[in-house]
Structures are given as structure tokens and as C-alpha cells.
């Protein structure tokens, strides 16, 4: 994989590991950005890994842009040698698919959608060749997803499904972005799912909603006391479909401060994963549920 570098003005270097999304490109971005962080290069202000690219913000008064570029190129080449193994976490996210709040919102913005007569779930099921909304929900929730980038707005995870490319769910974004999206909506655009951390504009298809907050600027929620954003690139997410009663119970638990998310430490090897994806994902499920 040949990384393409370019300057983003006089304060950023933008590096595209791959034009297309792939786990190989994502892992390379993750490794290089870790190496850049470890190198503690003078003048580097921010290091942002993304799905298949990364960005470094720097102060050109402290380091010459060309010197930083040369250093990044050196680290980029060096990363090819590292074993694609990471120590990470697997996190279960409950989802009420086909919920009343995203349904109300998608009806409100229907004229901006490819299929004004259906719902986002019905549309996504059809264009992915699945026979029903239930089959789509099963495809969405049966295999885990990587957090391949955090951003857009505070703490929002971009998620990339851990299955062969021909099984990956794809959906275009809305024809024109919405001006409103309910907080904690589970969305999908291109090959990426996301969880909207805050209420606001959005262009992804809306599939459901989670009762589990992932961003808390006031840091009152127990599992967000250490840091206000839950996700880090490299986290693994498994969706757990729930019904309305379970959703309401989870919301009550969150409000009462007794909601305990299911989060386990896990080691992930890309080489082992690629050898037998389904078997590897079953193993990950075992880690999550302690069997």
C-alpha cells in the first residue's frame, strides 16, 4: 500500500493510506499514528487516525513542513513491518431497531430520501438484496464492527463491519443531509455505520437507536467519568437487538446511574481473523459473553 501525502495548508499533513476502505488500510493508519505519537515529534499538535487515512496538525514555527513530511514518510514505511495485532476492547451496544423516534424523523425528511415511500430500513434491506427488514437487522447485528474512526462530532464512532467485502452492507447517504437526527441514532452511509453522539445534522440512513450514551460532556455517567467520549479507534462493537421494554428499562437504568455496559478486553489479530472470519467472530462473541 503506497500512502499519498499532501499538505492541508501550512498546518496539516494529510495522508491517504488507501482510496478504498479496507481493514489493511485501517490497521496501517492505526499503526502509523501510534508510531507518530510515540515518536513525540516537536511541533506536532494533533494526530488524527481515520478509516483509511490520517492527519497530523503541526506548528510550522516549530518544525519545517518538509522535515515533518520526511519523518512521516519514514514512520509510514516502518509500519509495514509491524504484526497486525492490537490489544483492544469489545463493547456490546443494545439497539432498538425500527424505533419510533428515528421513524418520526425519517418521515419528516422523506423528500430528501432516495425512496420517499418506504423507511430507511426497508430501503437498505432492498438495495442490499435482503428479503426483509428482519434479515437486514440480522446481517447488521450478527457480525462485529471495528471503530475505524472517531470524529465528525464529539465522540461519534465510524464503524466498519468485520465480514468479507461481498457481505458488507452498503447504503448511500441521504440525497440532501437532514437538519435533525435524534441523539444516539444508529446510522449508516457508504460502508460505515455510526452512532450519532449528539442531536444535529446528518446524512446517514437511520436504522435504530441505542439507550446507551456514548458522550457525556458533564461526565456524570459512570462509565464516562474517566473521559467524556466512550470510543477509541480499534474498539470492536457488537450490536444487540432489543425490544421496546428492554430499551425503556435500559434508559431508566442510565437515568438512575446503574446502567453497566458490557465491555471486555480482547486481543485482535488481523492475520488470524483473515484466515477464518466466521470462526474468529464466534470467538469474539465468546469473549463478550464469557463462554
Amino acid at each position: 500500500m503506497q500512502t499519498r501525502f499532501s499538505f492541508g495548508g501550512d498546518e496539516h499533513i494529510f495522508a491517504e493510506v488507501g482510496e478504498a476502505m479496507s481493514l489493511e488500510a485501517f490497521f496501517k493508519s492505526l499503526f502509523v499514528t501510534n508510531a507518530v505519537r510515540d515518536a513525540k515529534i516537536k511541533g506536532v499538535i494533533e494526530i488524527c487516525p481515520a478509516n483509511a487515512s490520517y492527519q497530523v496538525k503541526f506548528d510550522p514555527d516549530q518544525i519545517k513542513p518538509d522535515d515533518l513530511l520526511a519523518e512521516l514518510k519514514r514512520l509510514d514505511t516502518g509500519s509495514e513491518k509491524s504484526e497486525p495485532v492490537i490489544k483492544t476492547r469489545i463493547i456490546e451496544i443494545p439497539v432498538l431497531y425500527n424505533d419510533p423516534w428515528t421513524r418520526e424523523t425519517l418521515m419528516r425528511f422523506r423528500e430528501r430520501h432516495q425512496d420517499p415511500n418506504g423507511t430507511d430500513l426497508e430501503y437498505a434491506a432492498r438495495i442490499n438484496g435482503l428479503e426483509s427488514v428482519d434479515a437486514f437487522i440480522k446481517a447488521h447485528s450478527s457480525a462485529p464492527w471495528f471503530v475505524s474512526m472517531v470524529g465528525f462530532v464529539a465522540g461519534l464512532p465510524f464503524l466498519y463491519q468485520m465480514v468479507e467485502r461481498n457481505r458488507q452492507l452498503q447504503a448511500p447517504k441521504y440525497l440532501r443531509p437532514r437538519t435533525d437526527t435524534p441523539k444516539l441514532t444508529v446510522g449508516h452511509g457508504g460502508c460505515f455505520s455510526c452512532i450519532y453522539s449528539v442531536r444535529g445534522a446528518g446524512g446517514y440512513q437511520m436504522f435504530g437507536i441505542t439507550p446507551m450514551p456514548i458522550y457525556d460532556p458533564n461526565q456524570k455517567i459512570s462509565y464516562l467519568r474517566d473521559f467524556m467520549c466512550l470510543f477509541r479507534p480499534g474498539d470492536i462493537v457488537k450490536w444487540k437487538p432489543i425490544d421496546r421494554a428492554a430499551y425503556d428499562a435500559a434508559v431508566a437504568d442510565v437515568d438512575a446511574g446503574r446502567f453497566a455496559p458490557v465491555i471486555r478486553d480482547v486481543s485482535f489479530s488481523l492475520t488470524d481473523f483473515n484466515r477464518d472470519i466466521d470462526a474468529y467472530n464466534r470467538k469474539l462473541d465468546g469473549v463478550l459473553h464469557g463462554h
Partner: protein, 325 residues
Amino acid sequence: MAIKVLKPGLATTVQDLGRPGYYHIGIPLSGGMDRHALAAANLLVGNPEGAAVLEAVFMGPELEFTEDATVAITGAELPPKLDGEPRETWTSFKVRRGQILSFDFLKQGARGYIAVAGGIDVPVVLGSRSTYALGALGGFNGRKLEAGDELPVGKAVAAVKDGRTVAKDLRGQPAGVPTELRAMPGLYWHRITEAAGNGFFSDTWKVAPEADRIGYRFKGGKSLEFVPREPPFGAGSDPSNITDACYPYGSIQVPGGTEPIVLHRDAVSGGGYFMVGTVIAADMDLIGQLQPNTPVKFVKVGMDQALAARKNRAELLGKLRTALA
């Protein structure tokens, strides 16, 4: 002491020089859109350059002071009035306890900076007092001001004289019509045709009504023509889509190839739109002072010119510091 907000203005927020270090999780720099004017306001009232001030856009707030204070208003020509009596911008003046600071209609520019000796003393969140409204973070309760808010003010570090003023040539405000914004091509330059690239830099654009702290949209130029290609996996089918990536501050994204958006201090940190290039750091302050419909030309520059412009901007700030020392 405190400042009571009688009327909030259109979108008045607490801002300082920003919150670097969290862009990788989607929390942007934030801070004053016009950092030079923000620094000037602080220096006029004897504050450290990066103390928290109020940033008012298009329309000033109405504020009542509970103690005597020294204030200064810089940036846009948003003429201040004290108990109805006109005061000068870019000049420090005293406010007595119980007096009301209000503003006349905007004459020029877009964002006024209101500094108070001692600074606006809201809590520091992730290293900054700046408001990031989209994430409900920092500033006054994570949002723009509302009537009835009471803003805490810190203790002034030194007694300051009123009547201190900033000379016109040290104000660093946009000059000339159209406003020239220097930009470095790059990022995805290869994705558009040569004619489209030339057209982008030769067209005159106008600031669109959708212009805020997240980004400034421009309209009136020709649509971009993309070099044909097979969309890469994950990018989406529109020729203006990319596999979702990071957005630099100042980057010029062009959704659908039609209306460029320059991302600013509250930028969304990433997404799936093609970017034509990036406005250089030295010209970012100017953008924050552009009103809707202002004509703008993007001027193509390289790294050497960007660094030279950066040096000039730093020298201007240096002269300002000397003048107000």
C-alpha cells in the same frame, strides 16, 4: 463580580484561543474565529492574550455590570454604547457598577470581541473556556448566551487605564473587494479537471447565508468537474465522495461539486466529502469577519507563500503587543 445578560444578541458565546488536542475524537479547536481581534481586546484591558472574552456575531448583546470594570470591543465595527452614550471600538473604557453596555447596528465585519479586565471566568474544560455548542461543551453551560445568564468575571491582574487604543494598521481586518483568501491546492486536487481547478481560482464567490463557526459556505462560482473514475469501496457513489477522512481546519470541501465550504474553528473533524485545498492559517481570521454576500476570491499559493504570510501575521501581532505593552 458578574455580568448580567439582559439580551443575548444573535449568537454570543464565550471564547478564548481554543482547545487543541482532542480533534481525533471529534472535539474541534473552537476559540475565537478572529484570534487577532480577540488578542487585541484582551491586551487593551490588561488581560493575558488568551483570556476568555465574548464573541458576538452580527448583533451585540445587552449587558449589565454588577461592579466597576474596564472593557474593550474589537473585531467587527459593532459600535458600543454605555447607558446609551456612544463609545469607540478598539479602545478601552470604564464601566461603572449598574451601567448597561449595548450595541448599535453592525457597520462592518461580522464578529465583535468584548473583553473585560479579569476575563470571563467560566470553568476550564479540556484546557479551554471556549464554547463548543454542537457538543454542549465548555463556555457558559456549553451553549450560546441567553437572557438572564450571569457571567462570572475573574479578578483583573493589573489596574488598566481606559482610553488605550489600537491604531488602524494594527487591527488586521479584511481589506479590499473582493476579499482575497489564499489557499493551497492539494488533498484531492487530482480528482478535478484542470479547467475546473483553474475556474475555482478565477471565479468570484460570494459568502452564502449558511456561514457559522463550523464552516463558511460560498456560492456563485462554476460547479467543479471531476475526472471520471470508478468509486473506490466505501466512498459512496457521488463523484464528490471520498472514504470518510479527517478534515483540516480551513479545508475547502465541495459537496456535490457545487458550493465550497471552508471549515472553521468548530469544524466537523471528518467526513466523506472531497476537498479542493486549504485556506492558509494566516487568512483564517479574515473569514470570521465576512458578512453574507461578501465577494471573495480564492488565491492559489504554495507553502513558501503560506509561511511568508504566516510570518507577516505574527509580526502584526508582535507590533500590537509592543504598542499595548
